[in-house]
């Protein structure tokens, strides 16, 4: 059953690979691990969007549906973009004549990353789905979607299930439903195959983004740092929806930043698809999309380049097209929980302004939680402060500002929440921090590269400044 679940995930990867081939004119700029990581993220967005539309049309997730989508995309690649397939064999080359020490170091790091994925994967697959909020919110939706099309079930109107957040997006439940559809049963172990696959996608995508800016050895070191973050490992193993959201945040912000650097359409197109992934994974995706647009708008303005129409098309229109069906459906779902859209008003913030010191005083507890982060956040802060003069007038500032704005936004949410902020922070703060942790790795790497502390890849043009 687990083997069939992995076959289902192979279909996700292939759907994403086909989409990457259609969207990317210069795939050789990405490392092979990067291409694999990007493909899994793209595949999750493409497959689950398709399954949702099929569900609206009256079909439940079945293996043949995914194979049909894969067939159509593969045919499109063969007919329209066949010449790009050769680029899958090409990637940024190895460092020129590395020393013996560098070779050994790289081998150790590679072994560490592969070993981490294997150990976390084995543990994840040994433990059934048990995290109570994962099964109460995402797992229940997955079973509902597998049993009946969205318009035929009364689940989305049943307030007795309000605890499962009826209006939460369906990408992650549909990914679980797809795994179950392929494995042939709602097996509590087979669905956990998603956990290690997601961790591998994180590692691959992070390497791909880092390798675009750093030499091979430093890109691998940065990737190992991400793979060493305990909170990422635990949330992938437990199938928390925050882990896929973090993947899409990394993809959307990372590719948008690369586009500001390179001006290459490939990067913008990928950012657009990953932005749709953010919107389809959790309600926080809406806020993250606003931050992304604000940061890109500022980046375009500061760069003084006329690229706003293409950015508007790929970062606003494309995500709207991909997510339109979901938001149309969601409009009819009762909102019985906190309505954060309305509570974000400054008036609500001012009414609760006495909570600001409470939230600020509690925040360090989560940032320095050694069990969950080791010293990740203090390390991020230290590098960014020490390299500030080097990155502040470069596009790396986009990454730093993105991380900072998202964290400020989440702090704001704790001030306006209708719940007790201290209780809410205890259960959610580390998960929210996870959303931007992979992006923080990218920010640190770029800041260190800008300061000359880490070595650049051949692609980097040092003249890119604001």
């Amino acid at each position: 059953m687990i083997a069939r679940a992995f076959l289902g995930l192979a279909v996700v990867e292939l759907v994403g690979a086909a989409l990457l081939t259609l969207l990317g004119a210069e795939l050789r700029r990405w490392s092979l691990a990067g291409k694999a990581g990007l493909s899994f993220g793209l595949g999750l967005v493409a497959l689950t969007s398709f399954l949702f539309v099929a569900s609206l049309a009256g079909a439940t997730p079945r293996a043949w549906l995914g194979l049909v989508e894969l067939g159509v995309l593969a045919a499109a690649v063969l007919v329209l973009r066949r010449e790009r397939l050769t680029a899958w064999r090409e990637s940024p080359g190895a460092d020129r004549s590395p020393s013996r020490g560098a070779r050994v170091g790289s081998a150790v790091l590679l072994l560490f990353v592969a070993g981490t994925c294997a150990i976390v994967g084995a543990t994840s697959l040994a433990e059934p789905l048990v995290e109570w909020d994962v099964l109460a919110i995402w797992g229940l939706k997955a079973k509902v979607l597998l049993a009946s099309p969205v318009r035929a079930t009364d689940y989305f109107q049943d307030v007795a299930h309000a605890y499962s957040h009826l209006d939460y997006p369906l990408l992650w439940p549909l990914a679980m439903a797809w795994t179950w559809a392929c494995s042939g049963d709602t097996d509590l172990l087979a669905v956990k195959a998603l956990g290690p696959a997601l961790l591998c996608a994180h590692v691959g995508m992070c390497h791909g983004l880092l390798r675009r800016r750093l030499d091979a050895r430093d890109a691998l070191l940065g990737t190992a740092v991400l793979a060493a973050v305990p909170m990422l490992l635990s949330q992938c193993a437990r199938m928390s929806a925050d882990a896929p959201l973090a993947l899409f945040v990394l993809g959307a912000f990372g590719c948008a930043w690369l586009w500001l650097e390179s001006g290459h359409g490939d990067d913008l197109r990928l950012a657009g698809v990953f932005a749709a992934g953010m919107l389809l994974t959790k309600n926080e995706g809406l806020a993250l999309q606003v931050v992304l647009l604000a940061c890109v708008a500022a980046g375009v303005a500061l760069a003084g380049r006329r690229r706003s129409s293409s950015a508007l098309g790929w970062l606003v229109v494309a995500p709207l097209l991909v997510t339109g069906a979901w938001f149309w459906f969601r409009a009819a779902v009762p909102k019985v929980h906190e309505d954060y859209g309305a509570r974000l008003q400054p008036r609500v913030f001012l009414e609760n302004v006495e909570r600001v010191p409470v939230v600020l005083a509690r925040a360090p507890t989560y940032l320095v939680s050694f069990t969950d982060w080791h010293l990740f956040w203090p390390l991020v802060a230290a590098v960014l402060v020490l390299t500030a003069r080097a990155w502040v007038r470069r596009t790396a500032a986009f990454l730093v500002a993105s991380v900072a704005l998202v964290l400020l936004l989440y702090a704001y949410v704790y001030v306006v929440t209708p719940w007790d902020p201290v209780e809410l922070m205890e259960t959610s703060a580390c998960r929210l921090l996870l959303h931007v942790a992979p992006l923080a790795v990218l920010a640190v790497a770029e800041a260190a590269r800008a300061a000359g502390w880490l070595r650049s890849s051949d692609e980097v043009c040092e003249s890119a400044t604001w």
Partner: protein, 200 residues
């Protein structure tokens, strides 16, 4: 792709800082071996166990570090009470609901007369597509408080002497099974006669 400009010489200070950063990052990576050791220990505890036992271990904040992840206060409480025998409500609910899933027929309709939020969440998921209701009328259940409110005003549901009345009402409403407590233990009974193996 842009042609790279000639490499500018890197100042010695930046080179030293770069090596210092690499060493710090390598130490950070090395520290994660402790986290991986926790994963290996959990894997060894799970290996070879039946599914229900694995779930009970995984769901227990006292037996699985993953169940405490991201919750510093829970982690601190665990450290304070390390070694003391503790029972996890979430693990108990998961294991009981998982065991009962094998007993329930596919078309079962279960009435939950125990205002235990974990039992409601876990039972709803693990027994799906069978229905599990805590009240016969549609009512908003958002969390443990709203679940408790839903049953609070019904005196028959909290009075053990009126258990028969609850059984009759549930049967009349079309439920095939009832979850209730007897002598402190959660019990699943078929409405009409007890379900085999339904007692904990």
């Amino acid at each position: 792709m842009s042609t790279p400009p000639p490499a500018a010489p890197v100042p010695a200070r930046a080179t030293y800082a770069g090596w210092a950063l690499r060493i710090v990052l390598a130490l950070f990576v090395g520290a994660s071996l402790f986290a991986l050791a926790d994963f290996v220990a959990l894997w060894r505890a799970l290996r070879g166990q039946p599914l229900v036992e694995r779930g009970a271990i995984g769901a227990s904040e006292f037996e699985s570090f993953l169940a405490r992840a991201g919750r510093p206060a829970t982690q601190a409480e665990f450290e304070r009470s390390r070694g003391e025998p503790r029972v996890s409500g979430a693990a108990g609910a998961w294991a009981w609901a998982a065991r009962m899933a094998a007993e329930l027929p596919p078309d079962a309709r279960v009435f939950l007369n125990v205002p235990h939020v974990q039992l409601y969440y876990q039972g709803t998921f693990l027994w799906f597509p069978r229905t599990l209701d805590v009240v016969t009328d549609p009512v908003l259940i958002r969390d443990a408080d709203t679940l408790a409110e839903a049953v609070r005003d019904d005196a028959a549901r909290t009075d053990p002497a009126r258990a028969g009345e609850v059984r009759r009402r549930a049967a009349r409403a079309g439920y095939t099974h009832l979850v209730t407590t007897e002598n402190g233990a959660v019990v699943l009974t078929r409405l009409g006669k007890p379900a085999p193996g339904g007692e904990r």
